[in-house]
């Protein structure tokens, strides 16, 4: 029987109101409530469900990051995983860590643990990358079932129903494979206190990326060591929306630009070089 590797990520809790640092270098993370990425919860739940159906033997939860990442692994263990692996990444390496580095780590671990399935969430709610699963599959040269809303194991193949733009797509892929969990895959269980107590007895192995032969640096083009090719530059708060206003139906209240425009012909707007905000357009000119 087989082993499933589940990747989980520690992110700022979805219910927290994000604040930008005063120097606009990023988002405030100190003292802010963190929890497991919702899509990762769904991934863990799916793996545990497969184990409960006796289709797989063991579920291993993996997380990359500083010591606090072990809290996320503990939650995964409380949800039913058998053991955890904490890949320790701290400091500058952690700040520049992205899907590429994580997928390298997951690929190395999948090979080492001889996993037949790697399940991750489709994307993280903090960076919305939607890349880790796909990159892991590419590095392992395994088939991938992304945006999975239904997973069925059929012998040595997996039937995946994927949620795509046009609707639902059903594919059958060989194992070993990588799956990414979408919202409708399942309903993750809440880790209650008795389960958390039981999880304290489960083991979490600790290792460094170097032990897996993974280089955490993201290289510039040309393979040279020019440093990070991906680096956060600026974080700015979203400007608050202006309130809309009620207008009468009279045409004279509209901005001259709209009144003058024959909407079938854009040339009538050529006279107007100013950019108008929507509120300007609906507000009567001259107050």
């Amino acid at each position: 029987m087989s082993r499933v590797l589940v990747g989980v990520k520690r992110v700022i809790d979805y219910a927290v109101k994000i604040r930008v640092k005063p120097d606009n270098s990023g988002v405030v993370t100190d003292g802010v409530k963190h929890s497991m990425n919702p899509f990762c919860e769904i991934a863990v739940e799916e793996a545990v469900k497969l184990k409960e159906k006796k289709l797989i033997k063991e579920v291993v939860a993996v997380s990359c990051g500083p010591t606090q990442a072990t809290e996320t692994i503990r939650t995964a263990l409380a949800m039913g995983c058998d053991r955890g692996i904490h890949v320790e990444v701290t400091g500058k390496d952690y700040e520049s860590m992205g899907p590429l580095q994580v997928s390298k780590i997951l690929a190395a671990l999948a090979k080492r643990e001889e996993a037949s399935l790697v399940i991750v969430g489709k994307q993280a709610i903090d960076d919305d990358c939607n890349q880790t699963g796909q990159m892991t599959a590419a590095l392992l040269d395994w088939p991938q079932g992304t945006f999975a809303s239904e997973v069925t194991l059929e012998g040595d193949k997996v039937k995946v129903v994927r949620e795509i733009d046009g609707g639902l797509e059903t594919i059958k892929i060989n194992m070993p494979a990588v799956l990414t969990a979408d919202l409708r895959l399942n309903t993750p269980r809440y880790a209650t206190l008795p389960n958390i107590m039981k999880a304290k007895k489960k083991k979490i192995a600790n290792m460094k990326p170097a032990e897996l032969g993974v280089d955490m640096v993201s290289r510039g083009p040309g393979g040279g060591s020019e440093g990070d090719i991906l680096r956060g530059l600026l974080a700015v708060e979203q400007s608050s929306r202006q309130h809309g206003g009620l207008i009468s139906s009279s045409r004279t209240h509209l901005h001259p630009a709209i009144v003058a425009t024959d909407f079938h012909d854009s040339s009538s707007l050529k006279g107007y070089s100013e950019t108008l905000s929507f509120t300007e357009l609906i507000q009567p000119t001259g107050g």
Partner: protein, 96 residues
């Protein structure tokens, strides 16, 4: 209170306390009401009654789990499947 039931009640209390930390109206709000609910029944001695109340507590745990799940699901749905959510609720732009 008879011994096995005492530990059950304490387990229930601790469980609820743990779950209440994420209560939307605030952990303190929840803790106050939890304490009140338990102290209100502190003089109950009939084991049948106690078991019934413990079962009630288990229902509350299930409800809380559902509440937290629904909250998270709705937030994720709004973030990533907004059009679908609005179509279900029959609101939003019909021109998309």
């Amino acid at each position: 209170m008879s011994n096995p039931l005492r530990s059950e009640v304490l387990k229930l209390y601790r469980n609820l306390l743990y779950l209440g930390r994420e209560y939307p109206k605030g952990a303190d709000y929840f803790r106050e009401r939890l304490k009140f609910a338990f102290t209100k029944n502190k003089d109950v001695t009939d084991p049948c009654e106690i078991r019934k109340l413990v079962a009630q507590g288990d229902c509350v745990i299930k409800e809380l789990g559902n509440l937290y799940y629904l909250r998270e699901y709705t937030a994720m749905k709004k973030l990533y499947h907004k059009q679908e959510l609005f179509a279900l609720l029959n609101i939003g732009r019909s021109t998309d």
